[in-house]
Structures are given as structure tokens and as C-alpha cells.
């Protein structure tokens, strides 16, 4: 019980100690029986120097890097650790950086050349955002102002209720960054604690400015915008519905914009009270794929505009899955480039593969140690001549590692674990 001792020693008595115990206990349970409180393999809840408990993965558009965010619930143990994987060498590269407080979602801000400029990570503990600059000359190098001896970002690169004018809600979980206009990008942040959705402008120089906000239910999880219709969808793990809003120009407001909630999308429900999690858009932007936990399923929502230009927002498929579906990734990895959907099923140690055209599960990828965050990456050929190949990177929550799974048809280890990238 090394971990327990360390926790008690560091936490001390009183509320902080209680908090630490609760965090630790939650830790154990989060791992769904795989935690075993430090006695079993895969959950050495000590500090280490690497990424701990990977929950969010996001890939650079050129497919050369995957940024991995860990969400250790105890800040003593690299609460919001961020590391980089080079997809060519299939290895961790650069230095792991730590945000303040345990992390939630992550999103990349891209330049017009589709290069990653910054990585934005929510801080659930501090109701804020950590904004990390990515060195274009050395994309594995994340910088966030001064970094202390522990690798923590300086306050100046932390945005939240305590610093600056940007506010996000309580316990921000979901985040996305999308191009807005010639002057900048739009950042959407969905908070689970108070249901607040914040719309923030991110200018080219990295300045964040609040644009507007609105409120939905408490349990917001992930957020995705459909470019064709300008509608933004937010999953809610406490209610069987997708929340929807759009952003309208509005005279008379400080920002010139107004967040307009629209009718939510009803989802199948059950009595288990644990619903929507990760989302991904189809390549053509017409369908939204949602990982739903009760009933455990992949829900397909038709979000294309109808003949009148209105999003259809209709559930067109519910494919039964098993074991706490968590995150979703999409890849053109079927035969003849057909789109397939990958869903991490945290409680089943597996990633389920769904053919949305057939509305059927077509494969199950068995991975150890609770796969959670996913990134389907089109990895360029090493020599510039061999064709790019689709590869799935899956964060193994209980192993502090990332699994590498080839996806392209014809690959000898397609839909099998080909490498395990352990974080230090």
C-alpha cells in the first residue's frame, strides 16, 4: 500500500486529507476493478514523470504527433500531465508538461496551414484553461510560459475565473477549437458542474476574450460543432439528450454575438443515469456519433440540414455496445476507404468497431487496462512515398500508456494491439 501511505503523508489531516482519501478511493474505483489500489499491475499511483491516466488524445492534422492528456485526480501526481507521441517513431518525445489541477478535455488550435499552434486543456480543478504554445520548429515541445521544477505551467498561461476576463463554468470537461474568421478562432468549453457553455474568442496572438455563454444541464461532457449548420452539440452524462446552440450576430451586445440555445435532441434513456460521453463527426459532417452509456451504445444522429436548411437532428441508429462506451473516433479505414467508427468501451477493455453504413458492429479490438481517450490518425509514410496508414491511438487509463492499433485494411495486425507506449 505504498500509494496509500504516500497519500496520507502528503495530504495530512483535516479536509485536505479527506479530499485526498476521496480522490484516492475514487481513483481505485475509476479503474473499475482494475485499480486494485496499487497492488495490481497497471495502477502504480505514484508520481512518475510521465503522463498519468490518459483520458484525452488529440492528433496534429499532419498525423505526425498525438498529444496525450492525463487526468490524475491528485495534483501531487501530475494532475494534468500532457505528453507528445511521435507517430513516426511510435515513441514519447519531448518533455511532459503539467497543467494546474486535474485535466479534462483537450483541443488543438490550428493555423491556416493546418499546423498546430496551441494546445488547450481544461482544468477541472480550477475552472480554467491551460493554453500551451507549440513550437513550430519543434512540435513536440510544449511551452506554457515559465515552467517550474515540477514541469508545471506558469499561471500566466492559465485562463480561468481567477485570471483575466475569460470565465468558464464549474468543472469544465469538454472543449473544442474551430476556425472563426480571419482574426481568430472560437473556443467552446462545456462545464459539467454548473452546465455552463462558454464561447471564447482566441485571437492569433493567443489572447482569449469572452464572447458569450449559456446554460444547460449539469453533466455536460463533450462538445462538437457541425460546420455545415453552425450548430454546436453538447453531450450530457446526466440526461438522455444532446444540447444544441448556435451563435448569432447580435447588435447591442458587447461581443456582437449571442449564444442561442435550440431544441435539444432526445436520446434513448434508461434508469442507469449515465448517458452521453464522447462524440465525433463523420467525414462529411452529416452524422454525429455519440458514445452513450445507458443503454451502452453508439448513437448515430443525423445532423445534416434538411431541404429547408434546418438540421435534421434525428437519431437514425442505435448500435448496442457493452461496457461503458467513452470516446469515439472516426477513420476512413474500411474497405475502399469506407468510414468506420471506433468506440472505447472503458469497462470492457475493448474498442468496438462500427460500420455506420451497415449499422453494425464489425469488429472488437481487445485492449488491456481500460481504454479511454482515442485518436484515429492518418499517419504519413516514413519516406514520403509509402502511403499514409490509419492508426488508432488509445489511452489506457489504468496503465499510463497508449496503445497503438493499425487500422488500414491489409495490415497484418489490423485491429490488433501492435505497440504499447508506456509513459515513464
Amino acid at each position: 500500500m505504498t500509494t496509500a501511505r504516500r497519500l496520507w503523508r502528503n495530504a495530512g489531516p483535516g479536509p485536505a486529507g479527506y479530499s485526498a482519501l476521496l480522490r484516492f478511493a475514487t481513483f481505485c474505483l475509476l479503474s473499475t476493478g482494475l485499480a486494485a489500489c496499487g497492488q495490481q499491475e497497471g495502477l502504480p499511483a505514484d508520481s512518475g514523470r510521465g503522463v498519468r491516466y490518459p483520458i484525452a488524445l488529440t492528433a496534429s492534422p499532419d498525423g505526425q504527433r498525438v498529444y496525450v492528456v492525463g487526468a490524475n485526480f491528485d495534483r501531487k501526481f501530475r494532475a494534468g500531465s500532457v505528453g507528445t507521441i511521435d507517430t513516426g517513431s511510435q515513441a514519447w518525445v519531448g518533455k511532459v508538461v503539467e497543467t494546474e489541477g486535474f485535466a479534462g478535455g483537450a483541443a488543438l488550435q490550428l493555423s491556416s496551414a493546418a499546423q498546430a499552434l496551441r494546445l488547450l486543456v481544461t482544468s477541472r480543478e480550477h475552472d480554467g484553461l491551460a493554453v500551451m504554445d507549440i513550437d513550430p520548429a519543434s512540435p513536440a515541445k510544449l511551452s506554457c510560459g515559465g515552467i517550474d521544477a515540477d514541469g508545471r505551467c506558469a499561471d500566466s498561461h492559465h485562463y480561468g475565473s481567477a485570471i483575466g476576463s475569460v470565465t468558464v463554468g464549474n468543472d469544465p470537461m469538454g472543449i473544442e477549437v474551430l476556425p472563426w474568421d480571419q482574426q481568430g478562432w472560437r473556443v467552446h468549453v462545456a462545464a459539467a458542474g454548473d452546465g455552463k457553455v462558454s464561447v471564447i474568442k482566441l485571437s492569433a496572438d493567443g489572447k482569449l476574450t469572452s464572447v458569450g455563454s449559456t446554460g444547460f444541464g449539469t453533466g455536460l461532457s463533450h462538445i462538437r460543432t457541425v460546420p455545415r449548420t453552425g450548430r454546436t452539440y453538447i453531450s450530457d452524462n446526466r440526461a438522455p439528450q444532446l444540447h444544441v446552440f448556435r451563435l448569432d450576430p447580435e447588435v447591442g451586445t458587447a461581443s456582437g454575438w449571442k449564444v442561442v440555445p435550440e431544441a435539444s435532441v432526445s436520446l434513448p434513456s434508461s434508469s442507469l443515469q449515465d448517458y452521453g460521453r464522447g462524440m465525433a463527426l463523420s467525414a462529411d459532417g452529416a452524422r454525429l456519433y455519440l458514445a452513450d452509456r445507458s443503454p451502452a451504445s453508439l448513437v448515430i444522429i443525423d445532423v445534416a440540414p434538411d431541404s429547408a436548411g434546418v438540421p435534421r437532428n434525428a437519431v437514425t441508429g442505435v448500435i448496442p455496445l457493452i461496457g461503458k462506451p467513452s470516446e469515439v473516433a472516426v477513420a476512413a479505414s474500411g474497405e475502399k476507404g469506407k468510414e468506420l467508427v471506433y468506440v472505447s468501451c472503458f469497462g470492457d477493455d475493448s474498442v468496438w468497431v462500427v460500420d455506420p453504413w451497415l449499422r453494425s458492429v464489425v469488429d472488437v479490438i481487445r485492449l488491456p487496462h481500460a481504454p479511454y481517450g482515442l485518436a484515429a490518425v492518418k499517419v504519413p509514410g516514413l519516406d514520403g512515398q509509402t502511403p499514409a496508414t490509419w492508426t488508432l491511438y488509445a489511452g489506457l487509463f489504468a496503465r499510463h500508456a497508449v496503445a497503438v492499433v493499425p487500422l488500414s485494411p491489409g495490415h497484418a495486425k489490423r485491429h490488433q494491439l501492435s505497440a504499447l507506449l508506456e509513459s515513464e
Binding site: 481505485c28 440540414p305 431541404s307 461496457g323
Partner: protein, 888 residues
Amino acid sequence: MRRPNTSALRRRIVQSWPGLVAALAVAGSGCTTSTAPVLDGMVGARAAALICLDNGKLTSGAECPTDAKVRALVGGGSRGTLGLALPFVPTWADQDKAVPGMSPLSIAGLPVALAVDVTGQQALVATIDGAHRRIVRIDLAKLPSDRMALSVQAELGYVPADVAIVRRNGASWLAVADPAGGAIHLTPADGFSATPTWTTWTIGGSPSALLAVPGRGELWVGHLHEGHVLPLDANSGQPAGNAVAIELGCRDGLDGDGDGLIDRLDPGCDGPLDDDERDAELAKDCSNGVDDDGDGATDAQDSGCTALPLVKGFAVANGCRDGLDNDGDGQTDFPADPGCADFADASEASDAPGCANGVDDDGDGQTDSADAQCAGGLSREWIADASVASAPAAPQPACDNGVDDDGDGTTDLQDPDCGRRSDSAEAGPDSAPAVRMAATSDEKWLAVAHQGRREVLFIDVAKRQLLRPALGGSTPYQRSSRLDARDNVLGLAFGGRPTALAGVTYAGKPAIAIATSPGGLVIAQLDGPDAATPSIRLLATSATAASISRPVLWVAGSAVDLGSTIPVRYASLGPLRVETTANGTRAYGIELTKDAFEHRAEQWRLTYQGLLPGGERSTGRWIGAGVLHDPGADFCQVGVVPGDFVILPATPACPGGSAKTVRAPVLEVFGDTLIVDAAAATEDLVVTKANQAAYDLAENPSPAVALPLPPPQCFADGAVRYELRSPQWLLTGSRTGLLSRRPSRDGVCAPLSSDLLQAARMSEPALRQVNGQIQRPVSCPYTANGLDGAFVANPLTTPVFSALQMRPGCANRAVGGTPAVQVLPSLREAAWTWSIAPGYTPRISAIGAAPTALLGGVNLKRVLAADAGRGALVVVDIASGTVVSTLD
């Protein structure tokens, strides 16, 4: 350095992981040693079949004489299991005594579908296991001892969607649906081996549902993506009659008019919402004395032959199916001419350069080469203002980008889901039309679960005919409201997706059990007065009246309680009213009809100056002289009517432009073109809390300042982002949408002839005027005695409320001692929402959130539902609708 907020942290953990925290509390000690869980068993149940054990003999479950003899096979699990249930005990039969607890049989693959071959005493299960797709044979010979055994497995080279046992030439055959290959594969069930010999029937489409109709020697096939079902002769594999459409005529995948052209590629189709493929009268056929399109009008009397006027130099006449190369680009009509979005498009010239499109783009009276700018070598009729930034190029529509966006193997117009070139998605709204089917025990009726439409449709098996609901309450096919008929509802409509069907018996007559998700189990009774006139209705707990839920006024995102309750009333969509009933209760409702067939569940929203659904667009071309052309739009379908506002953005940097957002009322509406009243253009004054008093009728009936419409050169390449808004109150519904939407033909909107269609627009009374002058300036229409005499009701639209005043600046009187609406900080943000329940309450049995299979039989009094969510088998008594037992 800030420290963690421990209470906040604790709260977040509880919020984020309530189940885990609760588990911790129960566990007490917290830390235990365990391995990764294997969530197997019946969770994820996705395939099931009924069998009967009658005096030790295996027989058909559908014909089992009593409930007590029924067994159920249920396939599910994470790694593939098959459970054997004794549902009326209820218990599972343990398949592995060596393992503690009730163990299912491992079948090493996710079950997709299963079929029972009684003769061969076997179950054949289609499974998916990684890259392996198999048929697994389960030996049922030891079923009297409640044991099953996996015997052989045969590999498949495709993803199976469904299986069925058919009688073919006197023997049992296994049929497997192969949606990707568009085929049905068959092999003898007797002697099923690891290397079966397959016979393949290639029928095209995406076969996904198989239903054997043994009494007729037929196998009916439903498709995953095509809107029809096909009966096949079980012996030959040839069609046993016509395919039956389960979609509108222009999206059913069939050649409805026999001209060799199907759906969107048939010139008779105006789009996916057109129910008739018959060809329009073509221009080249307008003098042959023949009613070519069979619409009852010949040549010049046919609207297809009517020469439509050019409006301000802009052609609105149909040019995309007239057989003529109207724009002289060498390509004729849709789909050959890229300028045509579909056959109903008005002009072939949408893709033409600005100096060759036959349009007076800048409204100076000169067209194309006759315009000085074109003669000067420009590519358009105006000189663009240098101060206007180029708008970012709009993405090419998914149905015209040369890409197979949805990865289904078809690209752009070859994709059946592309109704028109301008469609923004290759995925259609009505996919999964027939993934479940069931027949009644007498094999007269076949039910099809259409998941895309959320409807269950019924087919007359003998006539090969879809039973379409007829108009009016007297039809034996009930649930046929006028709204349903107008919106082309083809069967029984549900709020959730129908996920499973089973033929059952209720009160001695055939019935269909229907499972929906979310929702539950309902029973559709088929009990017409005679065989020729079926009556289909849902068993209901009451069949008396519809109900209207309590309306809520939303103001700036907050609900304002009106303090009233809504009586149960019949519901339709007439004008909204507030009235006092005989017993003194206030009723917020709508003009009602006593016709019980005018009901359907719907939620409605009423907004002031509301944006028309679909009325926010960025693909407009602003042409001078008040013409807005949008090649990708269908303004008739959007529901634009004269009087609506076109809102154009401010163009402060452009000479002749407007410093403020400007709006102008619509004068005329065509399919892709609007003519606006430039003389009536004003500032688009947004109603806010601060300025709402400026809307006071008496003081300033039109507070907005007149502004000129900007010239085309104020928009880069004439491309403009614009909005379409109602001038007053707008009623939109969750299913019906905008009620004033209209079909179009040849670029011309159908007339607004129905009061139902007009119900989308509502107004407050207008001040009485004589010779254009207000006679008596009064701010508020209603007094304690009713409508003030200074006002008259708007003859074109209907008043929103008969007592409540939604007009800013008006103090609302109390009704029945209760204060009415008090707060209106912004009219534009105010919205009423309420919902209308159907005229009866269907009897719904709770069977779980994710029902995937239903099992019933002709003699059985109960129906079984497999719930994938809980992994449960739920037993429902058909007569009472109650859940008898649940087998987890």
C-alpha cells in the same frame, strides 16, 4: 500558487462519478483486489428466437400451444453468448455446471441474428468475431434437458445482417442477408457443416431484414437503405410480384412510372419529397395534344407548359427539365447541366458567369453582353467595391464535390441519398427503412419498422400494396390526421424508433407487437370490419381526447409561470386562444376540432419576429432591383410568404451601402428567387427591453428608419449571407415544422389555400385605419371588455391571444383574478412552448430502453422483449399490458 479547493474537488468527483462514489460508500473499505470485469451474459442482447418444447419435442415457438412450453434463445454478451430462458418460470437454464451461477453458452462471436430450424433441431446464429464472420450451429437435440451445444462454425466472407429459415423445394434452407453485397446467400439447413455450399441470389440494394412467409412460399426482403421491400419466391429466388414501396415515390428506389428512370433521376421528380414520378409536361411536348404527365391538363393548360414571366429580368421559369439547352452551354437539363440542382430547378444558368447567365444582375436594365461592364471585359455586370472583403468560399455541397463523402461506394448524384446537386450531405434522412419485419399469424399483413421515418408501415401481403392512411376520420386506417396526410406519414408514427416487431394475437385477432426506443411496447390491433378494409390502431388506455400540456412562456431564457392549468381538449392547429370555459377555468389552447383523427403528438413554439427555420443562409446572390437569388434554396419549402422580411447585413464601408442591418419585406416568392420591396426597406430594428416601448402603436407604429437597399457590389461576388424572418408571430412545430411551407412546381410555389397552412403566422390586431390614417391612437388592443374598437383583426393572419397582450408597452389585464404575463424584456426572445398529445393514450408497457427483439406466437398470451441495455428478457401480458416478469 493556488491550492486545490477541496470541497469543490469533492463535489466534482461526486458529480462526475456518482456511481463510483456510491460504490465506494457501499464497499466501505474501498480497496479490493479484482481483475478487469467481463461484462458478459445477456447484456447487449441483440438476437433472439422463440422455440417450443411440447412433450419433449422441439416445435415452432410461434405456434406453441401454451405459454408454459415456450423457451427463448437470446444471444448477446461482450464476447458472444447464447442464453436459454424459461421465461414463464422464470429462469435461465445453466449451460455450464462447472461455473458458479447461471452461465450462458459461449459462441465465440457477437451474435447478429439467429434462426431456429425445428426440423434439424438446431439454431443457426450469425456472429461477428473480429475479422471472422460466421454462422454458428447450435445443437438443440438435448433441449429437453435444457442444454445446448455448439457444434460447427462456417466462415462467411461478408457482414451478415439477418438470417431466416425458409422452406425451399421441400427442405429447410438457411438464408443470410448480405447488405454490402446486395445479396441473399442460401444453404441447406439440414446437415449444416463448416463448409456449406452456398446459393446466392443477387437482388441489389442492401438486404438487411428477412421474413419467411411459409404459407405463401415466399421470402420477403427489406433493405437497409432502399425504400422498398421485395417478395421473393422461396424456390426460385425470383421476385414474386412487385416490390412494395415504403417511401415516397421519388425516394423508394423503384421506377414508379415505368419510364426506366428511378427517383431523383426521373424528370417527374421535383425532389425527394415528391411522391409522384410521373413526368411533367415538357416544353417539347407542349403542343402534341397529349396529357404527357397524366395530371389532367394538356399542353397549354398544363402548368409545366405555362410560360412564366421573367421577373425584373430574372428567369424564374423552369429550365431544368424542358428538354432544351436554355443557357446554351451544350448541356441540357438535370443532371447533365451542372447549373441545375435538380429537375425542379428554375434555371440552367446557375453555374454561368455573371455576363452569360441571362440575368440583369445589377438591375440597370441591361443584361449580359448588353451591359457596359460586361462589354468592358468584366466577368460580371457590376464593378465590385474594393473595400468589400472577399467572402470565404462556401464549401462545395457534398452532393456536388466529387467525393464519396459517406463512404457508401457512391458519389454525388449516384448516391441515392443525394436528392439534388445542392444537398449538403450524402446521408439521407430516411435511411434504415426496413430493418425489422413481422407478419401476422394469418400471413395477411406484414409490418415493417421504418426507423428513419419512425413509423411502422403495413403491407397487404396478397395485394403487394402498402396500406397508406387515407384522409379523414372515416378511414378504417386510423391515425390519419390531415397533418399526417399532408406530411406524407405513411403508417403509424412514433416518437421513438421502432426497433422490433412480432406477430401476436389479441382478443382472438391478429395483432403486431411493436417495440420502440425510447418508449416501450405497444400493440397494434388489426381488426377491420372485413378483410378488405383493415383497421389498424394502437391499443389505448383511453381513446377520448387529446391533451395540451401546460404552456410556458419563455422570456430571455427563463420560464414565466402563467399560473393556469390546461384542460383536456381535442387538439388541432387552429388559432391560439385564451378563453374562459363554462366552469370558469381559463384555457390556453387552440381552435379545436372535434375530429379525433386530427391529433398527433407535437411540440410547438411561438416566437415573435422569428427566424424561419432554414431561413439563415449564406449562399444568396444579391441582384439589384430587389432580387435575391439563391440557387440552392427552395423558398417555397422554407415557407417564405409575402410580407416576410429579408435581412441583409450592414455594409458600412461600401458606397451606397448601409451602415446598419437592413430589412425589406418580400413581395413575391419563387422557388429559388425572392422579390423584395426596396421602397419599404428599413433599418432592422431589434426589439430589446430598452426600445420595446418604441413599438407602441399609437406613438410610433414604425420606429425603424427607412434605409436604402445596398447595391450588389457591396457584397463580394454578389454573395450575401442573409436571414428570413417573420414580421410578427411565427409558429413552428417539432415535427411539422413551419406550417406555411409549400411545394413548388417549375419554380413557382403552390398557392397558400389552406387555413392550416396559414396557421404558422399569427398577428395581433391592427389599428383601424381610414384612408391610411389611424383614427384613434390606442396602444393596446385589449381592454377589460375585450378588443378595443380601435383595432381590427388582421384578415390574413389570426390573433395570437384573445386576451393576453403580447405587445410591448401594454399592461396586461388580469384574467380571472390572476395576473397575466408581466415581463417582456424582449419580444424577440419571447417564446411559447407547449405540446399536444394525441387523441388517445397508447398503452405502453415498459420493457427497457433498448429493446432489440420481440418474440410472440399465435397462441401465446404473452410477448417477450429482449432489452440490450439491461440484458433482460421482459415478459409482457398482452391483454393487460403489464410486465409479468423480468429475467435479468
